[in-house]
Symmetry: C2
Subunit: 203 residues, 2 copies
Amino acid sequence: MSLNLQEKILQAASELFYSQGIRATGVDAIVKAANTTKMSLYKYFPSKDDLVLAFLRKRDEDFRAWFVDQVNGKADTPKAKLLAIFDVIGEWMAIPEFRGCAFINAAAEFPLEGNPVHQVSAEFYDHFRNYIADLAGQCGSISPESLALQLSLLVEGAIVSEQMKRHSGSAEQAKQAAIILIEGSLGDIPDTTLLTDNSEEEQ
Amino acid sequence: MSLNLQEKILQAASELFYSQGIRATGVDAIVKAANTTKMSLYKYFPSKDDLVLAFLRKRDEDFRAWFVDQVNGKADTPKAKLLAIFDVIGEWMAIPEFRGCAFINAAAEFPLEGNPVHQVSAEFYDHFRNYIADLAGQCGSISPESLALQLSLLVEGAIVSEQMKRHSGSAEQAKQAAIILIEGSLGDIPDTTLLTDNSEEEQ
DNA sequence: ATTACACTATACCGACCGGTATAGTGACAA
DNA sequence: TTGTCACTATACCGGTCGGTATAGTGTAAT
């Protein structure tokens, strides 16, 4: 709660950027929401572009920390965590404030290739995939990187699908697909048997 | 080549909307690109919003027609067509004009839930999934709708992934995942190894 | 008391936004 | 000749955009 002014501005901007869109959010609106003035905003963020990048970089850290926390709260084994990813995504989608993925949205709002926004967004998903690949490696995937990329495609697909049409069950379908891909990548029998087959792995 | 004025305006707007983004494209820029005047534009499209929706609706028809054509040119059997989908997506992503999916981008640019843009975008993917479900049904999928939704998630995921980071092989990975999901959904043996309990294989 | 500094207050800038008003042009039909 | 109609030309509207200039306030250290 002890936010200094810079953090307060960034937080106000972040909420507006995510809920209304970046281009749709004017600097004046941010200033008003943060209860400060333009001069202070431009002291800490020399341009709106800087503020946008700061927003994305903080979102990168915050969202991933939150996400890993959620997954850890739902599952103990690496394999169960891989599946829990889709439960967390599903619950996230269900909250009314859900407006899709901030990074995908940002990349869509600034379509020109090579925009710094794309780079930060790509980095987020690199981190995200690394996290999945770690889990995949821990439970003995044949190709952790392949599995991680495939699962991340399902996640991203589910997010944008849900964004265009709410409550269409994309997270559940993504999970079903993930189950098959995971089992296949572990060299197990797919389908029907489901999880906890190989409780040989510890932790 | 025999474009009337209305079509010419819509085409100019479409190219700008897709390449630069919708919000980033001013009415004046469209007018200039179409070599006409504001008065004519506003005669055919009472507001920019109308023009945006016209753009998306036409894109819906055009893109799907083009896409089905491409797939048919690559494969003959329904099963081969399911896989060819990912080849077409992969080639589309490789062209320099690629800026992601117009519908996903539009939904991201107008984040408020219930925006007409979302509805048109959702309809596009409904059509897209129906097309996949048809193919899935034709080659004997256990659950064509499930498979279609799963494959569409892979496609959407690959598109947004490629948008944020070009040439990262997302289409190829999506195809690898699709192979497993398709084989699984047809009741076949998924990969190089492994048996399957329900030997209900047909076709 | 003086200085330094973080912050506020407010007015302003040129540029652009979506959209409109008014007038005019050229072709074609009655 | 007259009217209609698609289209052009241009000036204009209020509002908002990102960003800046100038002046002032409160506080805490020196």
